[in-house]
């Protein structure tokens, strides 16, 4: 029973991980075939993950409705929206009962272009308002570090938009002064910080992979460490 519950999956993970690692160093056609076969299997498993995602989403909203948690009414719309798009998507290949098939305009397209696209774009656009408000409240020169951050932010903001070229020409007689200052900030201090973060993330990912490979990290099995 124990072998079935924990050891067997761990052995499979270790074996497959080792093979996936080893095939990188074996320049034999068999190794290439193994890699192709493996990536195909990964894609099949990836397809199932989408079903799990959909199930998880629907399960979450069923729970919210059943327990009448705060805002449960919005969860009803998740089901209404999903059901409507599934029905019009499947009905006669998405053409729907009344749509003009010759024009290529289907009910599914209508729902996508006139509901999903504007709603998604609106939510993303709201970011501009939040960022403006947050910048106004946080960019205060309260000390030297905050003042440096403020100056850097203003230079980058100016350097990114075309109006800086007009301002730069008027002030310095050269259109690219702000753009060059922005490039210096982005290519040196920003790059140094980004590279440090990237290296940290990569080392973390390698150590996490090794922990999974050697069975130290087991939370993915569902039982915690």
């Amino acid at each position: 029973m124990f072998l079935k519950k924990a050891t067997l999956p761990l052995l499979i993970v270790f074996g497959m991980g080792l093979l996936a690692f080893a095939q990188e160093f074996v320049p034999h056609p068999l190794s290439g075939d193994f890699r192709e076969e493996m990536t195909t299997w990964f894609r099949i498993i990836g397809g199932f993950a989408m079903f799990i995602g959909a199930y998880s989403l629907l399960h979450l909203h069923v729970t919210r409705i059943r327990r009448q948690m705060a805002g449960w009414g919005y969860s009803v719309f998740v089901f209404l929206g999903a059901a409507a798009m599934i029905v019009v998507g499947l009905w006669n290949d998405g053409v729907g009962p009344l749509a003009d098939a010759e024009e290529g305009k289907t009910w599914f397209d209508w729902g996508y272009y006139f509901i999903q696209v504007p709603c998604s774009a609106t939510i993303f656009s709201i970011l501009a308002f939040f960022m403006a408000s947050a910048a106004f409240r946080t960019f205060r020169a309260k000390n030297l570090a905050a003042a440096l951050l403020l100056i850097a932010a203003v230079i980058v903001m100016l350097g990114l938009v075309p109006v800086s070229e007009t301002v730069s020409k008027a002030l310095f007689g050269d259109r690219q002064v702000f753009a060059r200052a922005k490039d210096i900030l982005m290519d040196y201090p920003n790059l140094a910080a980004k590279r440090g973060i990237l290296l940290g993330i990569s080392l973390g990912a390698i150590s996490q992979s090794l922990r999974i490979l050697f069975g130290i990290e087991r939370s993915y099995l569902g039982g915690g460490d």
Partner: protein, 294 residues
């Protein structure tokens, strides 16, 4: 009224004033028929020059890895890259890792093909002049699979046509046969394309991202893992300006958006400067009061 409630009310009022100002500036400057001149950045020029230097018939893989939420920034660059490919008689191969963007991607390709047919005087046909492979799941594993065998990873295109004998895919068996790839990304797909695609299979890669992601691309440009990148609406406007030298109608959505973006940035800078002046004046007043009390 107690102090915390008064502070909260003041904060809410300030927030609403800022929201209204930003909204008014964006609407006003989008409506005004203004245009600004600007010079394209070196990173956008690098991508443009790579596409421009390709021979007719070369294959350019375009990954539309975004959904409608990022349409405002990434659709203009997708359109202008497609137009550049059509103008140069290159063969764009479009695919996506984001199932949510599939219908939008089809619309972008159809519109670009129709615009190119009208402007360049010849029809552009799916399977012959371009390919739309559509969506497949599995992210990085899909890229690995495409690197081994592109036609097994996508055995049919979006329209259900088999890829094996498709004229547009003649000579393309895997990612190794791609002349250039450009990933338009709203998520972490550029890192995926670099690690599992270009580094492994050796094709040149460019990227188009939302503005907030653009700084993340700089380390990869410096290490030559990326040819260059288009960052946000400005990146798209730069590309439109470069293509407009040979095709003036390329200047469209992104170029028009530059005036509103400039105005909003100036408004933000003015707000920040104003807030800091208020802070400094407040400090000076408190100091003066302290001295007079002392």
């Amino acid at each position: 009224m107690d102090a915390p409630r008064a502070d909260m009310r003041k904060l809410n009022l300030t927030r609403w004033v800022i929201y209204l100002l930003v909204g008014a500036v964006v609407v006003l400057f989008c409506a005004l028929p203004l245009e600004q001149e600007f010079e394209a950045s070196k990173d956008v020029k690098a991508v443009f020059n790579r596409v421009d230097a390709l021979e007719p018939g070369a294959h350019v893989l375009l990954a539309f890895d975004y959904d409608p939420a990022s349409e405002a920034e990434l659709k203009p660059m997708s359109r202008v890259l497609l137009l550049h490919c059509f103008q140069k008689k290159l063969i764009p191969i479009v695919m996506t890792h984001w199932s949510n963007g599939l219908t939008m991607d089809k619309g972008i390709i159809d519109n670009a093909a129709a615009e190119a047919a009208k402007e360049f005087g010849r029809p552009f046909q799916s399977g012959r002049d371009y390919v739309f492979l559509g969506f497949r799941p599995a992210g990085s594993n899909l890229i690995l699979n495409m690197g081994e065998n592109l036609k097994s990873a996508f055995d049919k295109d979006f329209y259900g046509q088999p890829t094996r004998a498709m004229p547009a895919l003649q000579g393309v068996n895997s990612l190794k046969d791609i002349d250039l790839a450009v990933d338009f990304a709203a998520g972490a797909t550029p890192q995926m394309w670099i690690a599992y695609g270009s580094d492994r299979f050796g094709f040149p890669l460019g990227v188009g991202t939302t503005a907030v992601q653009a700084p993340d691309m700089i380390p990869f440009v410096q290490s030559n893992q990326l040819v260059g990148y288009l960052g946000g609406l400005r990146g798209a406007a730069d590309y439109e300006a470069l293509l407009a030298q040979s095709y003036p109608k390329a200047k469209a959505y992104a170029t028009r958006g530059m005036v509103a973006q400039s105005a909003t940035h100036v408004l933000l800078i003015l707000l920040i400067v104003g807030a800091n002046i208020r802070l400094i004046v407040g400090r000076l007043n408190r100091k003066q009061k302290g001295r007079s009390h002392g």
